[in-house]
Amino acid sequence: MTEPVLAVENLTKTYRESGWRYRNHVTYALNNISFQLNPGQTLAIVGESGSGKSSLARQLVGSDQPTSGKVLIDGEDVYQLSASERKKKFKKVRMVFQNPYSSLNPHSRIGSTLEEPLKINTSMNSRQRKEAVHNALQRVGLRSEHASRFPHMFSGGQQQRIAIARALILEPEVIVADEPLSALDVSVQAQILNLLMNLQEELQLSYVFISHDLGVVEHISDQVFVMYRGQLMEYGEVDQIFDQSMHPYTRRLLSSTPTYRHTVEYLNKVNSPEFKKLAKKSNGCPFASRCPYAEQKCLDQMPKTRNISGQRVTCHWPLQD
């Protein structure tokens, strides 16, 4: 069994309301969260606004300390380590923000933004740093002459590439991406998603991918962690969550996510020439040519009206949930 690169155990974060009126009022941003992330895998954190997913991201990268519980990086509890050791550990978990523009310092050139973590955390000399910056830019599909430009000269997609380059430059094991696509245009989202997947393959990265978009989550993740108001709702392999979700909340999310896949499938079916041909001379079910569930039998044979516990239905394949 492989050791998880990142794990949390019983992570809890509470905020105490200030002011005399709420003296003993405690809100839970995160309540008893536990999960494990194996190398090269992607864990998706799904939830709506206010579910605590961004708070969770902050705990994972060490920009915020949990109230209780453990954060384990490479199997070591970081809060048992000395401050400098802990800092070093957290360099293996890097973050990509939702809004790429606001995560880049508007007044410093891309090159110096990318060099900054190397200056602070490594003993590289200037030439080595320049080379590392060059490599990181190439890796995310930018050119090294981009290093001398300012953030506002790039499009949103390119800015997010820069943010990813910044996360990569310390050669981390885990990248925590907090809604990295939601500020981007549709056609650019696909570019960034593909880039993330390519990088994962090349560098054996692990991702904690925070998103509200279930389509994207299903596309990229291996495990899915569904949260609501700081609590775990459902956590499992992507197949389990999407095919046999056991939690009503997950089901509700799934059913309310708009998708045109069903429409397209249905249209493709009824538009296919053989289906049309058959439908014309069919003496089967009259609805068959418009039915998303229609099969050969429906075209050949008129279904009989059946009585299913008092309800009458004329169909070969009555829907039963």
Partner: protein, 298 residues
């Protein structure tokens, strides 16, 4: 990513170049800048530009009106005062004092203001509370009144006037620096820099300072004009520069008694103060407009 280039990459102007392009579009600000440059020239090259020594008394030319009036003579372009001193030379030398003193005041105020503002902005709790409440107290008293009170304590004179006006100006800097730092600290790129491992000092110099610079520059220009007015006011009240120093406020106060006999001795230093403050304010306006879009995406 190989890109087919259809357009040549036009070289993109740097930050200051863009700033200058925007500033130039502001006509009033350009006018202000021109005036300010002229005044600056006066200040820098006063010995060359002034025809006479500012304290030299020409006893046969008392209260001569400016050269363009009937009685005026060309030797004294702006006329002479009651002691026969050349007003033009006094104004030119006075610009040195006015600008120089104000610069000193702004420098001191900005230095302490930024320092205190940074401490307040980066700390929480009692330190921040203490600093901000002291600043509130200073702000609660009208600025000139406070300066007078300070001078009453430490005594009149030029250096003391500088300290007094500087102290009055400090709270403005503290407030603006603290507010911007608080705002900046919550921004993603500062959090990102923290995650890069930057400590407090590095965070301040690399991430925050460049971003509070625009409001700070505007504040400096505002403080500059306040400083000129306040110093002149103190001079006028006899609490700042002492005669025969050709400080504009002092000239004004000395000529006050002759306002009916020699109105130009009052009007001209007054105009000098007015034009200087006006042009600094115009420049400040232009700066604010030109620096502001930096925050948003160009």
């Amino acid at each position: 990513m190989s890109e087919v280039k259809i357009y040549k990459d036009t070289p993109i102007p740097g930050r200051w170049q863009q700033f200058w392009q925007r500033y130039r579009r502001h006509k009033g600000a350009m006018l202000g800048l021109m005036f300010l440059l002229v005044i600056l020239m006066f200040a820098l090259f006063s010995p060359l530009l002034a025809p006479h020594d500012p304290t030299e008394q020409f006893s046969q030319f008392l209260r001569y009106p400016p050269a363009w009036t009937e009685k005026g003579i060309n030797e004294f372009l702006l006329g002479t005062d009651d002691l026969g001193r050349d007003l033009f030379s006094r104004i030119v030398y006075g610009s040195r004092l006015s600008l120089g003193l104000s610069a000193a005041v702004v420098l001191i105020a900005a230095l302490f203001g930024i320092l205190l503002g940074a401490i307040a902005g980066l700390s929480k709790g009692i330190i921040e509370f203490a600093i901000m409440r002291i600043m509130d107290i200073i702000l609660a008293v009208p600025s000139l009144l406070l300066a007078i009170v300070i001078i009453a304590i430490i005594g009149p004179g030029l250096p003391n006037a500088i300290y007094a006006v500087a102290i009055v100006l400090i709270p403005h800097f503290v407030r603006i620096v603290r507010a911007t730092i608080k705002e900046e600290m919550n921004k993603d790129y500062v959090i990102a820099a923290k995650l890069d491992g930057a400590n407090g000092a590095r965070l301040f110099t690399h991430s925050i300072l460049p971003n509070i610079l625009p409001p700070l520059i505007v504040q400096v220009s505002l403080a500059f004009s306040t400083a000129i007015v306040d110093i002149a006011a103190l001079g006028f009240l006899g609490l700042g520069a002492q005669p025969p120093n050709p400080e504009w406020g002092t000239i004004l106060s000395q000529s006050r008694d002759f306002i009916q006999l020699a109105p130009w001795t009052v009007t001209i230093p007054g105009l000098a103060i007015l034009i200087t403050v006006l042009s600094i304010n115009l420049v400040g306006d232009g700066l604010r407009d030109a620096l502001d879009p930096m925050e948003s995406r160009g």
